[in-house]
């Protein structure tokens, strides 16, 4: 790791100010991505502004069916939130299957979506839930937020403060993990609210998270796993690497989508 200056922010404004004063600063949340990158000397920020102690960014707030998750809330805290599990078990279960216990204790939702790893789990949930990403400057719809591989609509130095969404009627997330890293090799989030079905896929797209519109149409007409039997997922545009060819990923997307729907069907209403 190269030398760096560490700052512990106590407010969002303070963090923004500290960042403004830094030569080439970076926000630090759980550090699960940033710190290893720095240790490998692939990143060398002059300053780290730690957001994790900012009270305003912590915790899950639920009002009716409206959910607000503060940006520095850990995966562990999301996964164990009992109230959230009552209205949206898909997201608590998703959080509970990120990486390993160490990663879940440190990693945050804000860090995850700021980083926008194409194999991260949360992006699929936020896209399928039609969530809003709230920053210190504005609110961004998930559909406009996730732009590409590790690319988002965030402006330089913009701070994610929270994620907001309305709990869907029913939802489920199914992930096929990369056997080595445990990140998603194909993760499919299915959310149904009224007659609207949204299906978002992570881990598979060459451009990051995307919606699987053919599946949405089929499921809107018939919300059963069997409605996806004839779905064809086009390998074009899917990632291909050591662990999974585009063809294999296309298969996994379909299988995970069906399993997510089946899981919803198997749960009591």
């Amino acid at each position: 790791m190269y030398e760096t200056q560490y700052h512990r922010a106590t407010s969002v404004e303070g963090a923004a100010r500290q960042m403004g004063e830094a030569e080439d600063g970076k926000y630090l949340a759980g550090g699960m991505t940033l710190i290893p990158t720095m240790k490998q000397r692939l990143a060398s920020p002059s300053d780290l502004v730690d957001l994790r102690r900012i009270e305003a960014l912590k915790g899950v707030k639920i009002t009716g069916r409206t959910v607000r998750i503060g940006a520095v809330t850990s995966h562990y805290d999301v996964s164990t939130n009992v109230e959230l599990a009552k209205i949206c078990p898909a997201i608590t279960s998703l959080a509970g299957h990120i990486g390993d216990p160490q990663v879940r204790n440190m990693g945050t939702i804000g860090g995850s979506i700021a980083n926008n790893d194409p194999a991260a789990d949360y992006p699929s949930a936020l896209l399928a839930l039609d969530a809003t990403i709230v920053t210190n400057r504005r609110s961004i719809a998930a559909a406009d937020y996730f732009i590409g591989l590790f690319e988002t609509a965030l402006e330089p130095d913009e701070i994610i403060t929270a994620v907001e969404f309305t709990a869907p009627d029913r939802a489920a997330y199914k992930k096929f993990p990369n056997p080595a890293s445990l990140y998603a090799m194909a993760g499919v989030f299915v959310a149904k609210s009224g007659d609207t079905v949204r299906v978002a896929v992570t881990g598979a797209g060459e451009n990051g998270v995307f919606r699987l519109e053919d599946a949405e149409t089929a499921l809107a007409a018939d919300f059963h796993a069997s409605a996806l039997d004839n779905l064809t997922v086009d390998p074009n545009g899917l990632l291909s690497d050591l662990h999974a060819s585009a063809e294999y990923r296309a298969n996994l997307v379909k299988v995970m989508a069906k399993r997510a729907v089946a899981e919803i069907a198997s749960r009591p209403m």
Partner: protein, 781 residues
């Protein structure tokens, strides 16, 4: 048996310090004035070095020195060597290319060391290492053994035209051809044994300390065999004479073979310590471990097996190409030859065998012994082809094996080995019973109802361990003898120190070896200390690898214990005024058999040291040494049965049952033996299902971290069923065989036989990752 003697399941004495974080590893060693080293490593797989500019690096803060290979050479430090001579079938010696600890003219793989930077802190050393300017002229790269043999492939060492190191034969080719001419059925197949990264939990590390007052060197290092390290560094690398070089291997966090060898780093740090006058420590980071620890396996084989009409094996032909990487590591040449082809007879009576092995250089990390070393490769070839033959012949794989088992001992195979003992029917029966083999068809049908493909596979392995009779390995080209040494020191109060040339890096020697003394003298194991891993404390010994510490290391201890016991009995007979032949030692008392006359063990020891009242002419003291050279290898064998369920939609394999029935001869501590089996199985299953090592065409290691290299996790493994049968080994005094590698040797073919059974497609390479299994399922459609 005493409560802590032979056969007792006592808990490991060493675990307290390991579990509480009190182990002392090389990186825990701190000496005054110590500085930290980083190696400048090649980012290219193959390039000529056209210049090294160290000026900017030398000027950086905290930097003590930046040293290169030309300075090392100028000081007379020698090249690394492979210590086992193999001759090609045409009689020419193997073609070993030069391996300078720091490359001077060419780099040959990504990670090849080019310079050492020494600074006050590791961070400063790293900063300065980035400022070392090495100019490279890139050369064409070859990573795959088959490609390396193609005409026009890049030449890696001028000494080895066509990258061929040797072209070696074993067995009778004419007799094998004649056997095939009579065959009623021939099964042939191509078999790849995937390259593995050893991944010891503790990365390699070394601390070199030069004392100018004494002109003496101390080398702390992560070694499985500190005496061998001293011998090789002294005799071949010209670091220092043996009496001026102390090698200490303190607690070592796993080796699996990768810490047998002498690497560039320890030589360079020792030399650099003298050059700079400061102690120099280097600790590998995980990336360096991936890039530069000697890898394992990497064979490509074509095999054919011939049967008569009664399904008896007539002959076996094997042609293997082994990738040895960019340089010949210390024992690299013996792994694909004498540790491999000599095991190709397996558990079977095979009248004729012919094996040809070609080894080649590539622009990849050096390949050497990794848990099992050659024997997993042999077992994989034989047990895959036996299973395949059974499928082709449409007979039960168990029956085909049983029919061909060696049934009487000693059994001379056509490939050097003479099996001394075994009962292969017994291990097969034990495994089939434990696995409820007969009930498999029902389980398959039940799984099918759940949409799962269930398969079963077995592997009947034999291995040769307890390396090894010195004269035998000497005649086969080994540069060293493979005996072991021990010294038993009884202290004046009866506590015991056992100095052993074996080295424990996870095997539990501190417990098992103490049990031998507990058995002999009835003392608690807590009063027995095992001393190992320091050339200044322990007499010359050969270290731990090849499952030799039980069969060879403990046999040396047993011999020394014999001598101590004999002397103790003489002293006791004198004290008790009895006949020496009537003295027996039981439960901490030395007594006259059949009487109540006894003297406590500690008083015998005390008498030896006060020397007030010893038999006339007897030397004081109670301390004896022994060297033990085995008369044969030992031959553990067994049967592993694996049962899997595959999710056809995703290709995911779940091991639903794994049975290992092993014959390790007599067992000293069953719990430790089971632990060794569990660890070996985890590595074997890791190879079969998870671990893949990929280099891209430019020689970059793509799987250089745990983000891409899949280490087995607890969830990947079932609860193992481990059971034993016993045929005592006639070739050593304890009747023990060896258990350290068997798990990794026997399991991979059992897993792949099960997976290919489940998917009804035999064309599947290791590792059977979900993607590979899914692709094989699609291909079979």
């Amino acid at each position: 048996m005493g409560v802590e003697g032979i056969g007792a399941r006592v808990l490991r004495k060493e675990d307290k310090r390991f579990i509480t974080g009190k182990g002392k590893y090389t990186d825990d060693m701190v000496v005054p004035g110590m500085k930290h080293a980083t190696f400048v490593r090649s980012p290219h797989a193959h390039a000529r070095i056209t210049g090294i500019d160290v000026d900017a690096a030398k000027a950086m803060s905290g930097v003590v020195a930046v040293l290169t290979g030309s300075e090392l050479k100028a000081d007379g430090i020698g090249n690394l060597i492979c210590g086992w001579m193999i001759h090609s079938k045409d009689g020419t010696p193997m073609k070993m290319g030069a391996w300078s600890p720091l490359a001077t003219d060419k780099v040959r793989y990504v990670g090849d060391a080019v310079a050492i930077v020494i600074a006050d802190t590791k961070g400063e050393a790293r900063d300065a290492a980035e400022a070392v300017e090495v100019s490279y002229e890139e050369l064409p790269v070859v990573v795959n053994a088959l490609d390396a043999m193609q005409q026009g492939a890049p030449e890696i060492h001028a000494e080895a035209p066509d990258n061929l190191i040797f072209d070696w034969d074993l067995g009778d080719e004419a007799a094998t051809n004649a056997a095939f001419a009579k065959a009623a059925h021939v099964t042939s197949m191509d078999i790849v044994n995937n390259r593995l990264v050893p991944n010891a939990m503790e990365p390699r590390a070394t601390l070199g300390v030069y004392d100018s007052g004494e002109d003496h060197y101390t080398c702390w290092t992560t070694s499985q065999n500190p005496h061998v390290a001293r011998l090789v560094m002294s005799a071949f690398y010209n670091v220092a004479p043996e009496n001026k070089l102390r090698v200490i291997a303190p607690d070592v966090g796993g080796g699996f073979g990768s810490k047998i060898y002498i690497y560039p780093e320890e030589i360079t740090c020792l030399w650099a310590s003298r050059k700079t006058g400061v102690p120099v420590k280097w600790v590998a980071d995980r990336t360096e471990s991936f890039l530069t620890d000697a890898h394992g396996r990497d064979h490509v084989t074509h095999a054919e097996i011939a049967f008569d009409s009664d399904h008896r094996i007539l002959g076996l032909k094997v042609a293997t190409i082994a990738n040895l990487g960019a340089y010949m590591s210390l024992f690299s040449s013996c792994v694909p030859t004498y540790l491999y082809a000599t095991l190709l007879s397996g558990q079977y009576a095979i009248p004729a065998i012919h094996a040809n092995v070609k080894t080649v250089y590539t622009n990849t990390a050096p390949v050497d012994a990794y848990r099992g070393a050659g024997r997993p490769e042999a077992t994989y070839v034989l047990e895959r082809i036996m299973e395949t033959a059974a499928r082709e012949l449409k007979i039960s794989p168990a029956e085909l094996r049983r029919k061909n088992f060696v049934k009487s001992f000693p059994h001379q195979t056509p490939v050097i080995m003479c099996y001394d003992a075994g009962d292969f029917d017994a291990t097969l029966d034990a495994a089939m019973n434990a696995a409820d083999y007969a009930g498999f068809e029902n389980r398959r049908q039940e799984a099918a109802k759940r949409g799962k493909l269930r398969g079963i596979g077995m592997s009947c392995y034999i291995e040769a361990c307890g390396l090894a009779p010195s004269s035998a390995v000497g005649s086969l080209g080994a540069g060293v003898g493979l005996w072991e040494s021990a010294e038993v020191r009884v202290n004046a109060v009866g506590t015991i120190e056992i100095l052993t040339g074996s080295h424990s890096h996870g095997q539990g020697h501190e417990t098992t070896f103490a049990q031998l003394a507990a058995e002999r003298f009835g003392v608690p194991i807590d009063s027995v200390s095992i001393v190992h891993g320091d050339t200044d404390k322990v007499q010359m010994g050969m270290g731990t690898y090849g499952s030799r510490s039980g069969a060879v290391g403990m046999s040396a201890i047993a011999k020394a214990l014999d001598k101590v016991e004999a002397k103790a009995k003489k002293i006791a007979a004198h004290l008790l005024e009895a006949d020496e032949a009537d003295i027996e030692i039981k439960n901490g008392d030395v007594r006259v058999a059949g009487t109540d006359k006894s003297v406590p063990w500690f008083q015998v020891a005390l008498a030896a040291y006060t020397a007030h009242n010893l038999p006339s002419g007897m030397e004081p003291g109670l301390k004896e040494g022994a060297f033990y050279d085995p008369s044969n290898f030992t031959f553990p064998g067994g049967c592993h049965i694996c049962e899997v369920e595959i999710d056809p939609e995703t290709g995911t394999t779940e091991i639903v049952q794994f049975v290992a029935a092993d014959d390790f001869g007599n067992i000293i501590n069953p719990m430790i033996v089971e632990g060794q089996v569990h660890g070996g199985l985890a590595q074997g299953i890791g190879q079969a299902l998870l671990e893949a090592t990929h280099y891209d065409a430019s020689g970059q290691l793509l799987t250089a971290s745990y983000m891409d290299y899949t280490m087995p996790r607890a969830v990947d493994l079932p609860s193992f069923t481990v059971t034993n049968t016993v045929t005592a080994c006639p070739s050593n005094p304890l009747g023990v065989k060896g258990c350290g590698e068997a798990g990794a040797i026997g399991s991979p073919p059992a897993v792949i036989n099960a997976v290919t059974d489940a998917i009804s497609n035999n064309n599947l390479a290791m590792p059977a990752t979900p993607q590979n299994v899914w692709a094989a399922l699609q291909a079979a459609k």
